[in-house]
């Protein structure tokens, strides 16, 4: 398998690198997994409604309380902190809820996963059909150029885009364009590469329902002569997005692409309990990618079990940024550069027959 790209990366899902990934065996490859006994893995995979019911009750009831306080104090400066907190629960906590419920691992009960999935998808403005399929591809071909539709930081990094996305600006803009296009009955050529034909009408139906909700919200705002309805629905995707971008960039930012070992392309970061609640433990990102069947509430246990085989986690968000931002800057000059994470002596080594050339290119 040849992991080196000859020229600037082509991230199109229907472009040169997509074809190349298929030809070289990078697409749908077999990935490295740390050995975990079947007995231990079954224990880790076990589903439980309890933690997610608790967390969802806290999440949604906090939103209701914060929204009521924000509305009551609307017109005074005192509404601001309540809306800022509401915004994070709407525009950031929805990202991890969408993600975990999309995997179907958050709750044991299927309808609970599906209900929270739909609510969270609406908040984060990700079509539940499109993104279920795009995320499946992200897990098959994690950070494989031309295959993974969810690469947050392409090389060379577009730093302006990153900054704008802390306020959800480009993401929301693309989401609105996609919603309008899907609502008009069109599924793009790229979407067709990962959404099976029989699923495409569902994406269109959802887009139409959402469009109706946004039209109703805008109509209400016009009728009231106030932006308040939009501050509650829609705009929190912008003013509350910062936390999910802050944590999400760390997932793969600055690390290798076109490799088949999640220890090389994903990052585990130890975080404070509030961020972990908002992020639903996705800071254990190497662990999540290696074993996506393990529910979010069991990831700390999985981390403890396999940490001997993984690069040391970053001890905090700040430390992660201290490592990642200089890598972004270096990638502006050399887009082959990446952070090669050191393994502890107890770990199985990287398979250099797959990744050695990428490492050499990075140092040039």
């Amino acid at each position: 398998m040849d992991a080196i790209l000859p020229a600037a990366r082509d991230y199109s899902l229907i472009g040169r690198d997509s074809q190349r990934a298929v030809e070289t065996g990078l697409a749908a490859a077999e990935w490295y997994h740390t050995d975990v006994s079947r007995k231990e893995m079954k224990e880790l995979m076990r589903r439980d409604d309890g933690p997610a019911i608790r967390d969802t009750a806290i999440w949604l009831s906090s939103m209701v309380v914060l929204a009521v306080l924000g509305v009551v104090l609307w017109g005074s400066i005192w509404c601001v902190p309540f809306f800022l907190a509401y915004g994070v629960l709407y525009g950031s906590a929805s990202d991890s809820r969408w993600h975990e419920c999309g995997h179907g691992t958050a709750f044991k009960t299927r309808w609970m996963n599906d209900a929270v999935y739909q609510i969270a998808c609406f908040m984060i403005m990700r079509n539940p059909v499109t993104w279920r399929w795009s995320h499946a591809r992200h897990h098959t071909d994690t950070v494989i150029v031309g295959r993974d539709p969810e690469i947050a930081v392409m090389r060379p990094p577009d730093l302006l885009r990153l900054v704008l996305n802390f306020f959800g600006i480009l993401d929301a803009w693309h989401a609105v364009v996609d919603m309008l296009r899907n609502a008009a009955g069109f599924v793009s050529a790229e979407e067709k590469t990962f959404i099976p034909e029989q699923e495409q009408p569902k994406a269109v139906r959802i887009a139409r329902i959402w469009l109706a909700i946004y039209i109703a919200t805008i109509a209400l705002a016009l009728y009231m002569g106030s932006i308040l309805p939009l501050v509650l629905i829609g705009l929190p995707r912008l003013y509350g997005a910062w936390h999910h971008v802050l944590t999400g960039l760390l997932q793969h930012g600055g690390l290798a692409d076109n490799v088949v070992d999640h220890r090389l392309n994903s990052r585990t970061v130890l975080m404070n309990p509030v961020s972990r609640f908002i992020y639903w433990n996705m800071n254990y990102h190497v662990e999540h990618h290696m074993f996506p069947m393990v529910p979010y509430h069991a990831l700390p246990r999985l981390h403890a079990m396999i940490r001997h085989d993984l690069p040391a986690p970053n001890p905090g968000i700040l430390d992660g940024y201290r490592e990642m931002l200089p890598a972004f800057l270096r990638q502006l000059r050399n887009e082959d550069y990446y952070l090669r994470r050191e393994l502890p002596l107890t770990a199985k080594p990287y398979r250099d027959e797959f990744h050695g050339e990428a490492a050499r290119a990075a140092t040039q």
Binding site: A28, R47, R132, A136, T140
Partner: protein, 105 residues
């Protein structure tokens, strides 16, 4: 023609669990349900080529370890995205503690 093949012993599989069985270049998944019945399906997920035996059995569902696609392993029915194609199932019987699956020709 019917062809019963010994896959494993009943004790090889825990209740509500699954085991991989390879035979003549093909791979199968053998299940033991919570009510102690045995079932067999093709071993690979119909979404991508992933071994279902690494997945999770819950009641009559096998969940694929890659993208969490779900099948009813008793009927082979795909239960929704990202799996859309049903799994092939095979007859199973237990005789003298041995699990036999019938591979039709």
């Amino acid at each position: 023609m019917s062809d019963w093949i010994e896959a494993c012993t009943a004790d090889d599989i825990d209740e509500e669990d699954v085991m991989r069985f390879d035979h003549e270049g093909r791979t199968f998944a053998i299940y033991r349900s919570p009510d102690d019945e045995f079932f067999a399906t093709d071993g690979l997920c119909t979404h991508e080529h992933i071994h279902l035996a690494d997945g999770l059995v819950m009641d009559d569902i096998i969940e694929c370890p890659k993208h969490n696609g779900r099948f009813n392993y008793k009927t082979g029915q795909a239960k929704g995205a990202p799996v859309c194609v049903n799994l092939r199932t095979y007859p199973v019987k237990v005789e003298a503690g041995k699990v036999l699956i019938q591979l039709s020709q």
